[in-house]
Symmetry: C2
Subunit: 580 residues, 2 copies
């Protein structure tokens, strides 16, 4: 697809829309709606926002994604990690409950949306790749722990605070004596019920004769039962009067149209958080999208996904919402429920619109502890410390990056954690490639093959030093190569020729070229010729363009074997002529 | 060398010190001393410091380097670029002439010294490699332009200011009418004389019958004549009374022992500048050291060089000096004058100590314009815009990094310029490796070789997709590989096998491993087997440790040819069994 249509994937799937697709999408939308109501309310509270903001963020953004997104089944909306990041970003700027807090949330969504749009339009989606898998895994795990810890206060009904794990625990310790035991009972019951729904409901439904898929989907709607029962109990027993915190008055009706705040100071303060939210959200979303798309052999376009998520966030910003992205649980449910096109998302939006019209009177009696229970059960599935063991076994460098990300996220907050994780993975990568594997090689007797002298029995010649470098040459390792060669030549006093074999060199940048020039001229000063062998085509093109080759004291050979043959031949010829 | 002696290279060369070495070192020291006096004074003024600070910084640091440095001929002391960086760093903190300014300069030297020492002790010298050659070349060129522009005010005798090129030019434009024409005459004459010394003096000396090397060295001491003549003229004609700015009273005697300031706020403000000065100084110094060492087939140890420069800077800090590093011109003169060991540096220090004892009365009459002329002539040799043309021809990515470095250094100052240059080179490198070359390959008919289908006539099979990736796999390109494979499989509907050939893959990090796992499981969902071929030994070791291989739907083959042979054989065998 190119041109205009590229930006509107809806034009592609819309053409083949049938009544059968409609039915499938409608069924999926209904199930996702039931699942989204409690999640949206809960995540809004997690972000420190009024509960209805979660519902607002689950309407227009879904319609926007249906038009611009490329995944057929991704369900966007508020998600746990982004909600936590939102709370962290705005917590520094405004007080929860103040109107500035809400305005900052919308502005954050607007800025994230613009960043995503810009990345998509300029095709800069590759920037998200700088977030390595282990770092994002560590970050999500640490976020899950932070989120769960942060809900304990609501489950206990105490007024605690804190943004980092030590702060949260210290604050809880100081307020434990204020525990409201009715709240705790509701919260504990809800947590237990929701865990049972996850593990025990499906087998029960199966034994009741339901088909596996139906049982699966029904189990996903279980949380709504927890909401209904606890709200009913709160109303019947007037628990609000007994110190149980309820959701309280929620405005009835569709989201208001809104505009983000345009304050230079606010934008500057939110710039980094908006960037981090955009990138973390995108990375989460695209991995979910790819997982689902691959199952049906469909494709998603990363750059267009950026645009889809960007428009969704802008849509959230102008309808009283906050940052959104593709959510894992809801997307899987949408997929399993049989959604075939992004239209299912639009129908879900209608479902949620109906919810905002009719639910609020019922929500007033909903205990906040029930929502906290929903969050705890949802995020504990994010916590997976096995990444530490996996990386420890696989590569210590990855382990170091993950450990730093987890510890810093828990102790210094989400922004520091993810930022340091990204910087650390880049530094570790640069460090690894800055000390490439370089082997002194010799000829396997009787063959044209050359191997590491340390690992194989090979022939070498005292006047010829053959080296193979197993990495592209660029600024971070250019000087290392120089050092290595100077050290090797200083040690081997008889050497008259150095041959650098480059079969694994995919690129030579300007710094590395200058290092090759330095090596060439310094070896020349020392009376040593410098040769290259097995240079790849594209690299050779660059070298030819550079003007380096005429100054090369030696030659460029197609193969290491040819290099050795020619140089030794030359020498014999030369000695011969001297003898005559 | 190992253990204790490793940290004291003096123990190695000291043992073979003879009277002949002594003579050679003394001669070299005398010539370098004569050259260093005007340079040290001038660079101190450039750094915004009293002139004697330049002399102080040329004593104990040289002795320290003689003990700890590994280059036989490197001459350390104040240099132009580091002096400019010092002025930029301290200019934000204190006013020139205030005692805080001097204290900050010493603190900066102390911090740079500690940073260099730490890098050396923890063997982190590779960090300096993140400064790519083109970026450092662009930075030095831009610094040279900034320095030269900044001296114009002294050559004109006006009071102008500014830290960036636009500021300097604007400030000059506003003060041009105050030009002191006597100052201008002295400055212009000195500049003309010094340029002539560079170009014209040596031929003259040669025609007078001197040997080439002697003529060369004498020409290098020419600047001292400019100092003597202009100081004499200023004294005789009482130019100070006619508005010509003179150096004025310089304290006579050895440098005072001093301690850097230990203020937390100052240290925080100077942390980044100290790091940048340490790294830029180290990179300059080591490339000079390596150039000279290679000519005599000697070695320098980068990590020990860090220690040598670190101790030198600490030495500068405790003797009233400011940041120092190895200087190009003086090191070359030292080398050419026949210095054989670092002891020559210690003798130079003695020479400069004598200068601080006896010169100050003469310096009082030295016009500042003469020193400015010394600086201008010295730094204009740093300016080399050809790096722009070279990088433009070689690689646009390097060009972009250089251009950004030059423009930002000129317009935003040295710290921004060098910082953005470093970050940009890293981002460009990550970008390049984040989109590795991936080729769909086929078999060259009648051979066991496989080549890019786009470049060669090769055989392929509709049910087998063979890909070769020409880059190590790591987090920045892991997702790109996933996207590429999903797109390729989505396009080729008949594909049942994907073979990834890895002859150029030198490493697979945890992110890339997880991408391979995703590819494997998503292809499995789509009914496609995933195979690897030509995996290098160390990479295979990691994969075996990871637990990935048992889940691989396909196999790992030693060669692409074997892969194709086995898969096609399997298929025929399978079809055969069906037929039976």
């Amino acid at each position: 697809m190119d041109g205009f249509a590229r930006y509107f994937p809806i034009l592609a799937w819309g053409r083949t829309y049938t009544s059968e697709t409609l039915t499938n999408d409608l069924v999926a939308a209904m199930i996702v709606t039931i699942m989204l109501v409690p999640q949206s309310l809960a995540y809004a509270l997690l972000a420190g926002l009024p509960p209805e903001v979660g519902l607002y963020a689950s309407m227009l953004p879904l319609v926007a994604y249906a038009i611009f997104g490329t995944s057929r089944t991704l369900a966007v909306g508020p998600v746990a990690v982004v909600s936590l990041m939102t709370a962290a970003a705005i917590g520094n700027i405004a007080v929860q409950g103040a109107s500035e807090y809400l305005a900052a949330a919308m502005t954050l969504a607007f800025m994230s949306g613009l960043i995503l749009l810009a990345l998509g339009i300029f095709r800069l989606g590759f920037l998200a790749n700088f977030l390595s898998h282990p770092v994002i895994a560590g970050f999500i795990t640490a976020s899950g722990i932070l989120i769960a810890a942060g809900q304990i206060k609501t489950l206990l009904g105490v007024k605690a605070g804190g943004n980092t794990l030590p702060e949260i625990l210290a604050s809880l310790a100081g307020t434990l004596q204020d525990t409201n035991f009715i709240t705790l009972a509701i919260g504990a019951a809800a947590v237990a019920f929701l865990f049972w729904v996850r593990k025990g409901l499906k087998p029960l439904l199966l034994s009741a004769g339901l088909r596996s898929r139906t049982a699966d989907l029904l189990a996903k709607t279980g949380p709504i039962a927890a909401l209904a029962v606890t709200a009913l109990a709160a109303w019947a027993l007037d628990l609000g009067a007994r110190g149980v915190k309820l959701v309280g008055a929620v405005p009835q009706g569709l989201p208001p149209l809104s505009l983000p705040a345009f304050s230079a100071e606010l934008w500057r303060d939110l710039a980094l958080p908006a960037l981090l939210i955009a990138i973390v959200g995108f990375v989460e979303s695209i991995s979910i999208g790819q997982t689902l798309a691959a199952k049906r052999r469909q494709r998603i376009e990363p750059d267009q996904e950026l645009i889809g998520l960007g428009v969704s966030n802008v849509a959230a910003a102008v309808t009283g919402g906050y940052p959104v992205t593709g959510g894992f649980a809801r997307s899987v449910v949408n997929f399993d429920a049989g959604a075939e096109t992004p239209a299912a998302g639009a129908y879900t939006a209608i479902g949620l619109a109906l919810a905002t019209l009719f639910l609020p009177p019922l929500l007033a009696y909903l205990p906040q502890a029930t929502l906290a229970a929903t969050i705890v059960v949802a995020v504990l599935s994010l916590v997976d410390l096995s990444i530490l063991r996996k990386t420890w076994n696989y590569a210590k460098s990855d382990f170091a990056a993950v450990l730093a990300t987890i510890l810093l996220t828990l102790t210094m907050g989400v922004e520091t954690g993810i930022s340091v994780g990204v910087v650390l993975s880049i530094l570790i990568h640069l460090y690894k490639t800055s000390r490439p594997h370089i082997a002194i090689i010799g000829q396997v007797p009787g063959t044209e093959h050359f191997r590491n002298v340390l690992r194989h029995k090979v022939d070498t010649h005292p006047d010829i030093l053959s080296l193979r470098v197993d990495e592209s040459l660029y600024f971070a390792n250019a000087r290392y190569l120089e050092d290595y060669i100077y050290a090797a030549v200083a040690k081997a006093e008889d050497v008259k020729h150095v041959i650098l074999a480059c079969p694994a060199v995919n690129d030579i940048d300007m710094s590395a070229l200058e290092s090759l020039e330095s090596i060439n001229s310094r070896l020349k000063d020392a009376g040593v010729e410098f040769h290259l062998s097995e240079v790849k085509g594209p690299v050779m093109d660059k070298l030819e363009r550079s003007g380096f080759l005429p100054h090369l004291t030696g030659k460029v050979f197609l193969s290491q074997h040819q290099a050795l043959h020619t140089i030794r031949g030359d020498r014999f010829a030369h000695q011969g002529s001297v003898a005559v």
